[in-house]
């Protein structure tokens, strides 16, 4: 029996101890009418060898591609030690560290994670993770409304990741909290003071700033932060953690820094894996820590005075406060934080800086190479971190399909979210992309746009059949 160790003799002994004649008798409190009709639709058991063959076949169907796509999820190199260590059974198969004395490994690791994230963002406090960047935004919006008690609106930049906005809206709307769009400047793609001045501030408690924005562009974060603080609004910063090795940390934005900081933790050593699991991070000023959702680890001492770690400030959480908790979150993304902590330790400040710089340099090169092709142009003129939007003179989906036939995932089709921008593609080159890969991308893009065909096989045609 898969994963059940009982022998026939043991089963008999156990039934005798209980005083029943069969296992079925143990279900005798369940009304007979409710007993399951059957499991048609669930296949028969496979042994490990068969499942292994099946999964290898499925994996092969997916194939492997050279990624020039980002849009919030980035294809960075992950050192071998990260997942070797993360999948050690002692991390992998442990529970939430409620019994502190039996969980010092996980607890100390999360404390170290908290230390790294506060250093990276230059904030005071961080929690032990949320589900992902988008749901972290929802939690930050709710947190801002708890802090600014008489508000129920938050200003959201129009150049924010469209799915972040959707997710935040879906999660907060039932509490009558609204997200108001601030439009971005058409030629630069960034948020200006002029467009902020258009906003109606009645009932507004916070401004969200995304650095970089969804288009990869860099915002004037100091100016935006000061503008918000001058109007007594909280600043909620959305940042890419890898970028913070290079870019000004949100704790130093403007005169006094951001109030709540969040983002997607995936770039820190988490594989793309079709969308998850990743983790959301969230940091804040010390004065707001009791409004923070999720778990927090504190350093303390044991009864012999020895250093130890434990879950703390739990009076915010659902298992203590129930309906008055700051959030319903319970299980978070612990193992992903384990990977991120090991990733940051292996890279250190210099390594992470190199990842950020190299990704930036590669992206600049990619954009230069692609925009030298007739029919490809840059959309916005702002400096970028490691992503940029280019406009094509042909529909994006056709181009992406043709590129895929060459083993390239060419970027993210932004047209569907921002139809006013035309045929636009969001492209990214992390430190993993080589000069050859960039040139190969440009070679095929040029060929596809100018409708020259490779022979044989014809890429476009092959895909249509």
């Amino acid at each position: 029996m898969p994963f059940i160790p009982h022998t026939k003799t043991e089963i008999e002994q156990m039934l005798e101890t209980i005083g029943v004649s069969s296992i079925d008798d143990l279900f005798d409190e369940i009304p007979t009418a409710l007993k399951s009709s059957g499991l048609d639709g669930v296949p028969d058991t496979l042994c490990e060898m068969e499942v292994s063959a099946l999964m290898h076949r499925r994996a092969k169907e997916d194939g492997q591609y050279v990624n020039f796509i980002g849009a919030g999820v980035y294809d960075h190199h992950i050192p071998a030690a990260v997942w070797e260590l993360t999948t050690r059974g002692e991390f992998y198969s442990a529970y939430t560290p409620y019994q502190a004395e039996a969980s010092q490994g996980t607890l100390q690791l999360i404390y170290e994670y908290q230390s790294m994230m506060t250093a990276l963002t230059d904030m005071d406090v961080t929690n032990a993770s949320l589900y992902d960047g988008a749901s972290a935004l929802a939690e930050a919006v709710l947190m801002s409304v708890r802090i600014k008690k008489k508000t129920n609106r938050v200003l959201i930049p129009g150049n924010l990741h469209p799915f972040y906005k959707e997710v935040a809206h879906n999660i907060v709307k039932n509490q009558n909290i609204f997200l108001d769009d601030v439009s971005f400047e058409k030629t630069s793609g960034h948020i200006t003071i002029q467009s902020l001045e258009q906003a109606n501030l009645e009932g507004v408690g916070a401004l969200v700033i995304s650095q970089p924005n969804f288009f990869g562009g860099l915002e004037d974060v100091d100016e935006l932060t000061n503008w918000a603080h001058a109007r007594d609004l909280l600043v909620i910063a959305i940042v890419n953690p890898v970028s913070l090795a290079l870019l000004k940390p949100p704790g130093q934005w403007g005169e006094t820094g951001a109030d709540i900081v969040l983002g997607e933790g995936q770039p820190l050593g988490i594989p793309l894996s079709s969308g998850g699991p990743y983790f959301g991070f969230m940091c804040c000023r010390e004065k707001f820590m009791r409004q923070m959702p999720g778990r927090i680890i504190g350093r303390t001492v044991d009864l012999e005075g020895k250093q130890g770690f434990t879950l703390t400030l739990q009076a915010r959480e659902q298992h203590i406060r129930r309906s008055r908790a700051t959030s319903n979150i319970c299980t978070n993304q612990g193992l992903m934080v384990t990977a991120a902590t090991i990733y940051m330790s292996l890279l250190g400040p210099a390594g992470l800086m190199k990842v950020a710089q190299r990704s930036h340099t590669n992206t600049v090169k990619l954009v230069q190479t692609l925009t030298s092709i007739d029919g490809v142009e840059r959309v916005f003129d702002r400096p970028v971190f490691h992503e940029s939007v280019v406009r094509l003179n042909v529909p994006v989906p056709d181009v992406l399909r043709a590129l895929q036939a060459q083993g390239i995932v060419g970027g993210y089709d932004v047209s569907s979210h921002f139809p006013d921008l035309g045929n636009v593609l969001l492209v990214c080159a992390t430190e993993k992309r080589t000069d050859e890969e960039i040139e190969n991308y440009a070679f095929h893009l040029e060929r596809i746009i100018s409708k020259r065909r490779l022979d044989p096989p014809c890429a476009v045609k092959a895909n249509q059949t």
Binding site: V20, Y92, T106, T300, L313, C330, L335, A350, K432
Partner: protein
């Protein structure tokens, strides 16, 4: 043990881990750049490997210890599930890559959706919620969307039994509902009279875990569901305890309208020291149109993501991507290894193990919270008598168990039973382990009457002794000194 920062030496770089090649960031204005590098540790690869290996050894885990944590289903996590979910093609696939780059992955997801739909007795399943609590959020948001869609806006209350997980009331509030608590009767079932008094035109729904967190199957479920439905409310099933009835009873057949499944419990994906989990949400015909997106659909043998375009009444996205894909893959692999028969065996043997332990503990003199009832996959003992006689409380016994090489059961939950242990052995433990645990618990009870200090001073063998939680909360030390991070 030292913090990793204390092994850090300025200027130490792992050049093999860093990218090579030319860099140029001169096009970024200086005002947007970081002035001083962040205080991350500077250690060698070997130092990091040793540090984190040693940290891992300071954990209890399923791979090293019996972990009978009630309501958490700490069963063995088959290694094949991890190995096969980490094939390079799965890890390297971008979530926004075209669907044609993920037909193998999507096929797995589609089959998982179908299996979960069958096992729950529902109409359709969405895999996107990233944990049980997010599954609850989805379910209650769906209930709200259903009532709103009918223009029935007077329903402002969610009923939650007092024994429920804290996530239930917290979720109801996040969805804009008031929470009304329903008491539990003497026998562990819901107090039907109290429920009757609470139900009305203001009732949006009831959230129920069955078997409940008291370790018993609510025998009144048929009457409960009639009551709620008759009043126009809906029933939410908290799938935390699905392990006890997997393949034996379907929540859909019990009359539930919507539910979540904790794949990190019932489908054996790892708990990872606090996640990631996955909390797919399944719904019957009434609520299926409101399921969160994206969902996987199939047409002419091709799989694709269905969004609001196909499911216009959906409550929308709950994640920027599609949820915890890697966790879902592990659950899929586990489900294929178990197969149809294996599903039922999960319930059968988890219930056998729990009832066996319950009887042995009763025989050893421990007091059961519900002695007249069958255990489900878990059960409760109360150490009230031990406390009265010796002063030893449940937490002391929990800590002493760690010295004996066992992770403690869930303590002080549910709050209804004083000095309680909620014990869940799961189906993957063998009889000898259960016997050893029972012996250890009996030893501790004996110690408590012979030498109280021995028990109240525990643990002795763990990396740290009992921790000062009050100090942790009063003088929060939540990050290593930030010196140097800011000029």
């Amino acid at each position: 043990m030292k913090l990793i920062f204390e092994s850090s030496e300025k200027g130490r770089v792992n050049s093999s881990q860093s990218p090579v090649g030319h860099v140029d960031v001169s096009d970024i204005p200086a005002s947007l750049l970081r002035a001083k590098s962040p205080a991350l540790p500077e250690v060698s690869e070997m130092q990091a490997v040793r540090h984190f290996t040693k940290l891992s050894q300071r954990n209890f885990s399923i791979d090293t210890h019996f972990y009978p944590l009630g309501s958490c289903t700490m069963k063995y996590n088959p290694r094949a599930c991890n190995t096969l979910a980490m094939l390079p093609e799965f890890l390297g696939r971008h979530p926004y890559g075209p669907e044609t780059t993920g037909q193998g992955f999507l096929a797995c997801m589609h089959e998982l959706q179908e299996m979960l739909t069958t096992l729950t007795g529902m109409t359709a399943t969405s895999l996107t919620p990233m944990a049980g609590a997010q599954g609850e959020l989805a379910g209650i948001a769906m209930i709200r969307a259903y009532h709103d869609n009918k223009g029935d806006e007077a329903r402002c209350e969610i009923l939650v039994p007092d024994a429920a997980h804290g996530t239930n009331p917290a979720t109801a509030v996040m969805c804009g509902y008031k929470v009304r608590e329903i008491p539990t009767g003497q026998n562990g079932d819901i107090d039907i009279d109290a429920l009757k008094a609470a139900v009305g035109p203001q009732t949006a729904g009831l959230m129920l875990t069955n078997p409940s967190t008291l370790g018993v199957f609510d025998r009144g479920i048929e009457e409960i569901q009639q009551l709620i439905h008759k009043a126009g409310g809906l029933l939410y099933y908290d799938g935390a305890n699905l392990n006890a009835i997997l393949g034996k009873v379907k929540p859909g057949d019990m009359g539930f309208d919507v539910m979540h499944i904790n794949l990190h419990k019932t489908f054996s994906t790892p708990h990872g020291g606090g996640g990631p989990g996955a909390g797919p949400v399944a719904a019957n015909e009434k609520l299926a149109p409101f399921l969160p997106v994206p969902m996987v659909m199939e047409q002419n043998g091709k799989y694709f993501w269905a969004t609001e375009k196909t499911i216009p009444k959906s409550i929308g996205r709950l994640s920027a991507n599609m949820g915890n894909a890697g966790v879902l893959l592990r659950a899929y692999i586990y489900a294929r290894l178990l197969g149809k028969e294996g599903m039922k065996r999960v319930a059968e043997f988890s219930v056998l193990n729990a009832n066996y332990m319950m009887h042995r503990l009763k025989d050893a003199g421990f007091e059961l919270a519900y002695p007249e009832r069958r255990a489900t996959h878990e059960f409760i003992i109360t150490l009230k008598k031990l406390k009265e006689e010796t002063g030893v409380i449940a937490m002391d016994v929990a800590k002493r168990l760690l010295d004996k090489g066992f992770h403690a059961p869930t303590t002080y939950f549910p709050l209804l039973v004083p000095e309680c242990f909620l014990i869940e052995p799961t189906e993957t433990e063998d009889k000898t382990t259960l016997d050893n645990f029972i012996e250890a618990l009996s030893d501790i009870a004996r110690e408590a009457s012979e030498n109280v200090d021995k028990v109240t001073g525990a643990p002795y063998t763990t990396p740290v002794r009992r921790l000062d939680d009050v100090k942790a909360a009063r003088e929060p030390d939540l990050a290593w000194s930030k010196q140097g991070a800011r000029d």
